[in-house]
Symmetry: none
Subunit: 417 residues, 2 copies
């Protein structure tokens, strides 16, 4: 099975956006053993799209289109492809209802051109869009499969994973299952991680062990092939154990865990409440934690004390402490944590202070951050970071490190109780 | 002049990397008025590359290749293209010397296959590589231009800008400049925007008017071609004015403005201070604003009151108000704004409350959000949103809408003072 990915959109050809969809789809197809032979980008131009389809249907078995399913007159993917597969466009009741509800919920007026988004090929399998209005679809004609997906990545990605992949697995009829388990790391760089598990990386076959670095974290994906999911997981287990022995300290979770979800899980499970006092992060730490459903029973709230005055007036940080140690100090971070815990009467208090940049703050170089964590029945802990990114990268990393240290703190606390 | 960009590399087809080269080259070509009609990606496979070239030379005047110029046996771009242009490969003395020096400097041993990198088409213009070893080249055959560039972006980008662009300007003999201006919208969907400015979209020629929707906002790019930048801007001005007459209410800024940068600019310019009380957004609003350098003179701080108890205890919201109207109400949003302004002694106070989801909150359906804005010498304003996204999409949009309403509030305030 050979695939070609065809992205449609003049904004791609003008260089206004990057074709990240092609990367995402290629990676997912590689995981299920479908080879991508070509990626093509063409503008919102029916004649040129026509020619691209003519070429692609001769050299690939699976054509995957992204973009051009929207309501505007530029969007003509369906209208162009329909001629090649000799069918007609019909309105899909479910999709139309979904679009109508979407407008009703948001209180906006639905215009006539939005109905166009509910049109699908007669006889096609409709791929539901949970993040937007235009449904996708999959159809076969003369042994070529046509899969149409929306352009915006936040709509396309879940549709591809949840709807298109199962369809394609049915098409290819593969007996082998491929199962992955992802280990999530924080506080260790990619180069150091690879160095520490070099012996494992060198001997990997099944499962494979693939490091992936994102902007501020590293993951390891362990992927095994076997007859069943259980058998694949049994191949993964001993390798995971080996990795945990070497670098387990930096592993905060697995698979879909995030720093925030893991911290929330620990708080909620133990019925602990938390309050935070944020300076350089200005709410980023609380906002990340509040992204987790169910957190309202644990997150009391907190305070953003962005300047010295508000630290003193709103949270009662002693002027003398600031004079002696400065606002970017272990002492200030500890006081922020302790005072916000007392003010909000919570079980746990966290304080974040630092110099985000672009200029040094209170005599401390850009990237210096102090995090304080205090908790009933425990000594207040403080942690120092020396970050080297841009202003906003430093702020985000400070919030993430606070979540990471919180997870370690809560894990220890849970073990003791 | 029509261009096709052809990227060569199996790592692209495996989804290991994103084709950022195509975006970069497309943007640069748009700036000098060369239209990109296609972007193509093909693997390290001479037969398939052959076919791709056959197709491209018929449908484009300029073929720009990236990748496959390295020393390994996978790298066969030159060897494949040379057959199509009927010339031979010769060693370029300057390039070879550069490669030899490169190895000498880095103390590594030069192997025989590295000499391959100095091979160029006989008669081609050699494009120097200042960041790596493989030179690029440009050659014309039967009125088709072939430009070969290395794959790594840090080598390709300076070579394209410094070497390929001057070559292309010579080819096109253009005196024209292309200038864009971007209008940034919030609070209006793409379909509705297009509907409202339909008359302008239909008659567009020079400047062109291109809508682009991101996850939560829409922009319009106005692009004009003229002899000089000034002349191009003069073509854009009347169209911008026409658009502002129709939908100016939703325009919050231009070009690189963001909601946060625009709000920060207005606060800082007027020396106004601000404090926020956040419930559903839990710090997201303040964190977005704090991303702007220089904001510390205006952002006093604020308070996250995530549950009912903290609203009452930390910010003095009356229990009777919550009993009568509920926490998701205009009255609560106004009280949050007024109380946080008073507590922090700021010029402006903002309150955000709502039901982010997944469950209804205090009897209000998911997506219901109230924003309150109060300001010295002004009545407290409240705004209602009905959002329809996921929990975190709703939280982010609530914070962004608060920035949008803040910009409108500050703009009015500035006009009055």
């Amino acid at each position: 099975m050979k695939a070609e990915i065809i992205a449609i959109g003049s904004e791609l050809l003008l260089g206004q956006i990057t074709n990240t969809n092609a990367k995402f789809i290629s990676l997912k197809l590689a995981e299920i053993g479908i080879d991508v032979h070509y990626q093509t980008v063409v503008g919102d131009n029916p004649d040129r799209l026509d020619e691209v389809i003519e070429i692609a249907m001769k050299r690939a078995d699976i054509l995957i289109f992204t973009g051009g399913l929207g309501p505007t007159k530029d969007d003509m993917t369906k209208e162009t492809i329909v001629k090649h597969i000799g069918t007609t466009l019909v309105s899909d009741d479910e999709a139309l209802l979904y679009i109508q509800q979407y407008f009703k919920r948001s209180g906006r007026v639905m215009t006539e051109n939005n109905k166009k988004q509910a049109l699908v090929f007669k006889g096609a399998k409709v791929l539901a869009n949970r993040k937007g209005m235009a449904p996708g679809m999959a159809v076969e004609k003369d042994e070529v499969r046509y899969i149409l997906l929306p352009g915006p990545p936040h709509e396309m990605e879940p549709m591809f994973t949840d709807e298109a992949i199962p369809y394609l697995l049915g098409v290819t009829g593969k007996q082998e299952v491929i199962t992955s388990r992802v280990l999530k790391f924080y506080g260790i760089g990619e180069a150091e991680l690879e160095h520490r598990i070099q012996s494992i990386l060198e001997k990997q076959t099944n499962p494979t062990v693939a490091p992936l670095a994102t902007a501020d974290a590293v993951t390891l994906r362990l992927t095994a092939k076997a007859k069943t999911t259980d058998a694949a997981l049994k191949l993964i287990a001993p390798i995971e154990e080996e990795i945990r022995l070497l670098v387990g300290d930096y592993i905060y979770g697995t698979d879909d865990d995030t720093l925030a979800s893991k911290a929330a899980e620990l708080l909620i499970r133990n019925g602990w409440t938390l309050a935070a006092a944020e300076s350089l992060t200005a709410g980023l730490f609380m906002a990340e934690l509040a992204g987790e459903p169910g957190i309202s029973s644990s997150l009391e709230g907190g305070i953003v004390v962005y300047n010295e005055k508000s630290k003193v007036e709103q949270l009662g940080i002693e002027q003398s402490l600031l004079a002696e140690y400065g606002v970017v100090s272990a002492e200030c971070a500890a006081a922020l944590a302790e005072n916000v815990k007392r003010t909000f009467k919570s079980d746990i208090g966290i304080g974040l202070t630092g110099a985000a940049g672009p200029d040094p703050h209170d005599g401390k170089p850009v990237g210096t951050v102090w995090i304080g964590i205090t908790s009933t029945d425990a000594e207040t802990e403080t942690f120092k970071l020396l970050l080297s990114g841009s202003r906003n990268a430093n702020r985000l990393r400070a919030a993430r490190f606070a979540l990471y240290y919180l997870i370690k703190h809560l894990t220890t606390k849970e073990g003791q109780s």
